[in-house]
Amino acid sequence: MSRILKSHRHDDRGVVALEVVLVMPILLMLIIGTVVLGNFLNLKTQTTGLARDGARAASISRPLPADTMVVGAACANPSDPTKFVTVQATKTVSLRSIPFLPTVLPDKITETVTMRCGG
């Protein structure tokens, strides 16, 4: 055995390939992680925008967009400007795990926006 190793002491063929094999998982985790987190933050911004659109629609008694719902009491029509309405938007996160790491991102993003009725 030691003879075989000795005979390859000055043979560095394959070292680069080995280093790439060792480093590649970490690199991939980093790249995928960036994509996953970027996607999550983008989705969060979209959900916030959707909640705002829903709240605006609910405040003037218009139909709500998809994936939104009124939390609590809805506005009367015609509106009572002393009341307010809260709308919650929910989106499902499809990309939420990084290989070899525990999943930390939630499976759903929920955002709420409150607006004055009729305003």
């Binding site: 680069v16 705002r52 029509n77 305003g119």
Partner: protein, 305 residues
């Protein structure tokens, strides 16, 4: 220098090249990833701040339109960590700026404050969908907001002496309960009381059924313009603006909603048997189009920017 310049094939040693490459690339990628996350967080905070600014300024504008001053607590319209500029009513316009301090999550570099502004305006209502009835401006007589009034829709005598029409009311030429009306525009009318029963149903219980009390918009026409062209029931009526009437009861042909009205209208003999009871309210709308018209207590609030 000898080693660097020595390019003899036998002495070439490239072990560790990948390590150096990876260290350099990893640094760049880590910084890139951290930047992506931090910028993402900043964008999310900015979006949230804009939402809060929109919601707050609409609430402020509503208060300005109704009360002339921002009176409510606007904390519920913003999220944790957000601060707003002091709400104030300008002339028909109010601006709110929401500020939130965003700390860099990974780069340990504070992004500073996110500022997002929104401006809302308010003014008179110039176009809206209303019930198919019009009322004379002199009949409106701007009673104190909140005073309960009883209106007779088939009044044979102009009560105020101001109108060319009985009771100052007229029905509009529509069978639906929702009629598009423009201020400063004109609208045709239908004389007679034949369809009044349906119009009262529009005021009180239109589909989908809404419980009383219910606020409806009633267009107000110019008495003088009407008299000038002798518009007896048919119009065209020059619409001046809109009033909001909170209808609390009705009585006609034995149908009664408000117990205090009784089965017959209080003054059935002199003033008619179709009556509604309610009070004029100040009302803010986002359903119509803002523009020049006379303010009868109904204003329009809208986001300007």
């Amino acid at each position: 220098m000898r080693r660097l310049n020595d390019t003899k094939p036998d002495d070439r040693d490239d072990s560790g090249v990948a390590t150096i490459f990876v260290i350099l690339a990893m640094t760049a990628m880590l910084v890139g990833a951290a930047l992506a996350i931090d910028v993402g967080g900043y964008v999310a905070a900015a979006r949230s701040a804009q939402n809060s600014a929109d919601a707050t300024v609409l609430a402020v504008a509503t208060d300005c339109a109704l009360n002339g001053a921002p009176i409510a607590d606007y904390a519920r319209y913003r999220k944790a960590g957000q601060t707003i500029t002091t709400p104030a009513c300008g002339s028909g316009e109010s601006t709110i700026t929401v500020t939130k301090t965003v700390d860099g999550l990974l780069l340990a570099q504070s992004a500073g404050d996110v500022d997002r502004s929104a401006t809302a305006r308010w003014g008179t209502l110039s176009r809206a969908n209303t019930v198919p009835l019009v009322i004379a401006d002199c009949e409106f007589r701007a009673p104190a907001t909140g005073t309960i009034v009883t209106l007779y829709l088939d009044d044979p005598k102009p009560q105020s002496g101001c109108s060319s029409l009985p009771g100052g009311f007229s029905q509009l030429d529509k069978s639906e309960c929702s009629v598009p009306i423009s201020a400063n525009g004109t609208v045709a009318g239908v004389p007679g009381v034949g369809g009044l029963q349906n119009k009262i149903l529009c005021l009180t219980n239109p589909p989908p059924a809404a419980a009383l009390p219910r606020t409806v918009l009633i267009p107000i026409y110019s008495t003088s313009a009407c008299k000038a062209i002798d518009c007896k029931g048919k119009g065209p009526y020059l619409i001046l603006g809109f009033a909001a009437l909170e209808v609390s009861g009705y009585s006609f042909n034995g149908n009664v909603y408000d117990g205090s009205l009784g089965k017959k209208c209080p003054d059935e003999k002199d003033r008619g048997k179709y009556c509604i009871r309610g009070k004029y309210v100040e009302w803010v709308s986002s359903l119509g189009t803002p523009g020049p018209s006379t303010d009868y207590g109904v204003t329009q609030v809208y986001l300007y920017s």
